[in-house]
């Protein structure tokens, strides 16, 4: 059943990823590709990251709502969102009562020692797939290096990276990238 599949997949994602922001991206990318790969090529997920940055709310909830809606309409949205939210809800209710015990537990400390850097490595891996899709949309090949699209993407990426490091607002950054994309498109260079 599609609703159960959505609920359980996102429940698993919500239950095992520690850390905010994009910590859930690697597992989401993998699981979405595994279950609904034909609906969500890498390109669609990267596009949606831009949508999520420009709308309110946590990335995990946005992504769950979006995937659920594309796969199975409003009930699918609700199933996926419930799934991604429920683990943290339950865990916080338990931890809120035993916080001191939890915080000082050597097991929790040990697990965190491994998981925090793991998330950094995993996100780097997820970013690599995004990068491959941006620079080599037709697959990794030397031929891509001779297309203007490769250098135009690299140029946009470089400029935006500098702006991002200078703490330009993400929404402004996305708007600028969109304008660049449209101009390049109508010049017939993509």
């Amino acid at each position: 059943m599609i609703y159960l599949e959505l609920f359980l997949t996102f429940f698993m994602i919500g239950a095992v990823t520690i850390g905010g922001g994009y910590a859930m991206l690697p597992l989401m990318q993998e699981q979405v590709a595994l279950h609904w790969g034909d609906l969500f090529p890498q390109e669609a997920i990267t596009n949606f990251i831009a949508v999520s940055e420009s709308t309110p709310g946590p990335f995990a909830v946005n992504m769950a709502t979006y995937v659920g809606s594309e796969v199975a309409g409003i009930l699918g949205s609700a199933s996926a969102t419930m799934g991604v939210v429920l683990p943290s809800f339950i865990i916080i209710l338990i931890v809120a009562r035993f916080y001191d015990k939890y915080r000082n537990s050597s097991i929790v400390k040990g697990v965190m020692t491994g998981l925090k850097p793991a998330v950094v490595g995993l996100i780097a891996g997820a970013i690599l797939s995004v990068a491959l899709d941006v620079f080599f949309p037709a697959g990794l090949s030397a031929a891509a290096l001779t297309t203007p699209a490769f250098y135009l993407s690299a140029g946009i990426f470089a400029v935006m990276l500098v702006l991002a490091m200078k703490k330009v607002h993400p929404i402004l950054l996305i708007v600028l990238s969109a304008v660049a994309g449209i101009v390049i498109g109508y010049l017939g260079l993509w």
Binding site: G20, L128, A178
Partner: protein
């Protein structure tokens, strides 16, 4: 009777407050903390500044999005389980409604040439945003051999060798447990 009434009032107030927080924070997670502080500490006095620090510490060491963790925690501290349900529902609802609406709009317009061009540029911009987020997370990590090994290992396994994420997470957790024990022993000596 009066107690019951004030409790439901609190639950309702939690719902509307977190609805507001959910509707106005872009970027989620840490971006929400100052807003929660303002609403839950300064305005309503539900929790203290110390509680907020505690919430951040808990949110960082439990699974799930920080926004959900904080809403559940503040709701529970303020009005028990019903409070946590109200706050969590409140913080989730705005993004749920907005994204659900947007998914329709995206479907309608994704065939347009201009939209496809725009997203072609946007994807390169998103890559920059992700790199910046990664840099921020990297800087917050401990700088010792164990964490470099885990970072590199997780990246090589999932990014280059296509190993699934879940077993890598489990492996890193076990590795963390072992190294934490080793470091503890060394510190004792």
């Amino acid at each position: 009777m009066k107690y019951v009434k004030t409790r439901w009032k609190k639950v309702w107030k939690l719902f509307t407050t977190f609805l507001k927080i959910g509707a106005f924070t872009f970027g989620g997670g840490y971006a929400m903390i100052p807003l929660i502080q303002k609403e839950a500490v300064d305005k309503n006095g539900w929790v203290t500044d110390d509680d907020i620090l505690e919430i951040i510490a808990i949110a960082e060491s439990t699974p799930g999005p920080i926004a959900i963790n904080s809403a559940t925690f503040v709701g529970y501290r303020t009005a028990g389980v019903m409070g946590s349900v109200a706050a969590t529902l409140g913080v989730v609802l705005p993004s749920f409604v907005i994204i659900f609406a947007i998914s329709f709009v995206l479907r309608q317009f994704q065939e347009l040439k201009a939209v496809q061009y725009a997203f072609q540029g946007i994807r390169a911009g998103v890559l920059a945003l992700l790199c910046k987020a990664l840099w921020g997370m990297y800087k917050k990590n401990q700088k010792n051999w164990a964490s470099y090994i885990v970072m590199a290992g997780a990246f090589i396994l999932t990014g280059l060798l296509d190993v699934s994420v879940l077993p890598v997470l489990v492996g890193c957790a076990v590795f963390g447990l072992v190294t934490a024990k080793v470091m503890e022993r060394r510190a004792q000596k």
